[in-house]
Amino acid sequence: MTVTYGDAVAAYEPVIGLETHVELATASKMFCGCSTEFGAEPNTHTCPTCLGLPGALPVANEAAIESTIKIGLALNCSIAPWSRFARKNYFYPDMPKNFQTSQYDEPLCGEGYLEVEVDGETVRVGIERVHLEEDTGKNTHVGTSGRIHGADYSLVDFNRAGIPLVEIVTKPVPGTGAKAPEVAKAYVTELRDILRSLGVSDVRMEQGSLRCDVNTSLNRPGESWGTRTETKNVNSLRSVERAVRSEIIRQAGLLNAGERIKQETRHFSETTGDTRPGRSKEEATDYRYFPEPDLVPLAPDADWVEQLRAELPELPAARRARTIASLGVDADDLQQMANAGVVELVAATVEAGAPVGEARNWWTGYLAQKSNERDVEPADLGIAPAHVARLIELVADGSLSTALARQAVDGVLETGADVDAVVAERGLKVVSDVGALEAAASAAISANPDIAEKVRGGKLPAVGALVGAVMRATSGQADAAAVRSILLQQLGVSE
């Protein structure tokens, strides 16, 4: 008995909540001097402290504390005048000390909020807390199962152990109805953009520097909130939306059948798009939190906090508002750009010197198409707004045709080189030598007498085949409109 998404949200009200982990882009780890560089040989960025050797002690990274406060300020949170680290105790082989140094009831940042826009409507997502902790190492389970159970053996890499991790927890978000999945995605998108503009993290979901757990519950209208599940392993913006949607459908199916929802951790599968049960939280682990005695309390100086607040960069929402005002686009264009997730990219392209119309056309047209093909966000496509502005400039001054400009985009995406390098490398330029074009045109006419006859006989659209032949002969570097008029002229036909 399958339930459609429409059925599910007609019968039930979803409540969502998000826990986001952000790896900070500090040079060194949270509690030691080891490098945080991604992708190094396993267990090379380690020391007595992040390996949990007997006797080693932590020292808190000031840059990480500063980044956390900045995140809190950007999310409208209160900054605690006094805060402490706490130990979260549990045994796992990727945890060098078998406790994680985290924060419990005294987080660095308290309540705040983040506003997101979905379909032109503003939704305020309450922030419960923002706290600082350390990341764990990484296990690799070798064997057919790929999981710890049934593995032949397991390897552990402690390079990641101790990398500063900020956890941002929302309050439950009710009342978003059918839009719950989009609100979840919009929240993570906005959060990612804020973190990026603060410069505190790489925010690369595919590398795990931004990780998201999504809580979902359903209740019938007028009833109290239902039992929630926590979905982990949600590794892209698209997955955030899909995970909420599939969990709403799954829970509605169970509730329709009169079953109850089990409070549990579930794992999202990118391939199937659904969630599967992980460990049950009904026998909840007792983490035996207590204040970390190896670290002193954090008491950020109020003046320092105010200085950080004053130094915050312009945040995406403000920039967007300013952009919209300065771009002078109408509501429909704006909606189109917002839906494609390219408002800021367009603005940046305009800032780099391009006219707004051209910038919008590129980002909502060919570049949006490429993003879809590659299943990445436009911002992660691999072409910078400055490149796009340069392309627009080259088209405007006649150096490139639109078709050539698209080839240049493909080149940039393939090689990562900049536009001018790709244009030079591939010899992309409009052939404007009229003599050469005239020769190519008469060659095309002689090679295709039947088509030439049709055109002469008044079937004007047939000239397209001749234009194509000339374009092939010039490797696509001619201006198609110019070619067309030369052909018509040689055939003695006027439009």
Binding site: P54, F91, P93, P96, R288
Partner: protein, 494 residues
């Protein structure tokens, strides 16, 4: 005087003067260890080669005409809870058997840099949990005053080594009294510095908020000289205090002139009476009278919350240890049991911990795990922390009336090996007098104050936070006024 019976200060002076080489001094102590340690069993590991080469380096430095540190060439015994690069470090536990650390503790580095010659690693109660060194996973250590008795604990190897003239100096750690009580029952001097005065980086943690390393010596001055070497701010330890080192050597020298006029000595009412051995109280009363005779003004002070120190300590220390000892899981270092392809990861962890930890360690892990459990935290750990605050307030009030506070260091003299092992509570009350200063993080010294039944008694002198020098000053004055206790230690028959 023979090399092994000389004080550290004398040895350093003779080495600096070229009267004796550091190698000769080290060899004399290694010979003494060979002769007596089979009966005392103070050491878990003797590093003869390392000691001789460190001594040679000191001699070379001197030959090159460079200035030597105040303790250069003087031998030292290191408690096995302190991490030493390349040298076995077990914390008295089977779970770390064979582990050779890849790094040095901050105090190890400071000791090496000072040219002090490390002879080896001393025995201790497993993970510093105990008051008799009987909880060592390897063997008990014997008190040089009477080999059938305990040398105190948990730093019993370090206290016995100094009392048996195997080393003039040693390092201990004190969580609830583990320097002061062993010093008291072996007739030597031991000081627990202000919490945060000596770096904990490289101390294998028992109870992080209480652990503090400190010096043992046969004289107050020797102890102060070693204190100055190991103390001082360490950026690798967040709880280390960024303050200048207390002027303890100056205080020890000043105190030795025997003038305590203007010093107010507070006798803590709650730390004597029922449960204290009569001989201990007699020696203690005589010591207080002696202080008065040196010009001190003796006042009585009351610290009503000291009564709760034992209960609070036995919640806080086990709670922290349950977390600190979680890292011993067979994954990265130390013992691994059951890794035969038949057992799961969780089973290997459990088997290793079952075999690797002794009964007292397991008892405290269980107590601590329980005390931190959801629903019990407030009643146990939370409440114990409040008691800690009250004890600190008692100290603050008492230090309004007195410059230092005194008490016996231990209610008893050294008891027989095996006498108390079956009764944890009988063992725990050893710490009755030492726990308040541990919980408040304040400094305290134990200095020998006579004998009871032929066995040493200790006088504890407590001072306010970061005023460690007061302990040394009063201790040195007292020491100068009385016959050295160690003069009457029986010769070890070997």
């Amino acid at each position: 005087m023979s090399l092994i019976r000389s004080s550290a200060a004398e040895l350093a002076a003779r080495i600096a003067a070229g009267d004796v080489t550091a190698v000769e001094v080290a060899q004399a102590h290694l010979d003494r260890i060979d002769a007596v340690d089979p009966s005392v069993k103070a050491f878990l590991h003797v590093d003869a080669d390392g000691a001789l080469s460190a001594a040679k380096a000191v001699d070379d430095t001197r030959a090159a005409g460079e200035r030597l540190g105040a303790l250069a060439g003087v031998p030292l015994a290191m408690k096995d809870v302190v991490v030493t690069k390349g040298l076995p470090t077990t914390a008295g536990s089977k779970i770390l058997e064979g582990w050779r650390p890849p790094y040095d503790a901050t105090i190890t580095t400071r000791i090496k840099d000072a040219g002090i010659v490390m002879l080896g690693k001393t025995n201790m109660d497993e993970f510093a949990m105990g008051s008799s060194t009987e909880n060592s996973a390897y063997h008990p250590t014997h008190n040089p005053w009477d080999l059938s008795r305990i040398p105190g604990g948990s730093s019993g190897g370090s206290s016995a080594a100094v009392a048996a003239f195997e080393a003039p100096l040693s390092i201990g750690t004190d969580t609830g009294g583990s320097i002061r009580q062993p010093a008291a029952v072996t007739g030597i001097v031991g000081h627990k510095p202000t919490y945060g005065a000596v770096s904990r980086y490289g101390l294998i943690a028992f109870s992080s908020s209480l652990d503090q390393a400190g010096p043992f010596g046969r004289t107050v001055l020797d102890t102060a000289l070693l204190h100055e070497v190991i103390a001082g701010y360490d950026p690798c330890d967040s709880t280390s205090i960024p303050a200048p080192v207390a002027p303890v050597v100056e205080a020890a020298r000043d105190g030795a002139r025997g003038d305590l006029r203007g010093v107010r000595v507070g006798v803590v009412r709650e730390l004597s009476g029922d449960g204290y051995q009569a001989g201990v109280l007699a020696a203690y009363d005589a010591a207080v009278a002696q202080l008065r005779g040196l010009g001190a003004e003796v006042v009585e002070v009351s610290c009503p919350h000291f009564t709760y120190a034992l209960a609070a300590y036995y919640l806080i220390a086990p709670s922290e240890c349950s977390s600190n000892l979680a890292r011993f899981d067979a994954v990265r270092y130390g013992l691994r049991v059951g890794d035969d392809g038949q057992h799961s990861l969780e089973e290997v962890m459990s088997l290793t911990r079952e075999v690797g930890f002794g009964p007292e360690v397991k008892r405290r892990i269980m107590i601590g795990t329980y005390a931190l459990s959801a629903g019990y935290y407030d009643a146990y750990y939370g409440q114990a922390q409040k008691v800690r605050t009250l004890i600190a307030q008692d100290f603050a009030a008492a230090f309004e009336k007195a410059d230092v506070l005194v008490s016996p260091t231990s209610p008893f003299v050294a008891f027989g090996i095996g006498e108390r092992v079956a009764d944890p509570m009988a063992m725990y009350i050893n710490d009755l007098c030492t726990l308040p200063a541990s919980l408040a993080g304040t400094p305290a010294i134990s200095v020998p104050c006579g004998l009871s039944e032929g066995l040493p008694v200790g006088l504890q002198i407590m001072a306010p936070t970061l005023a460690d020098e007061r302990c040394y000053r009063v201790a040195a004055a007292y020491e100068a006024a009385v016959t050295p206790v160690l003069a009457s230690i029986p010769e070890l028959t070997v």
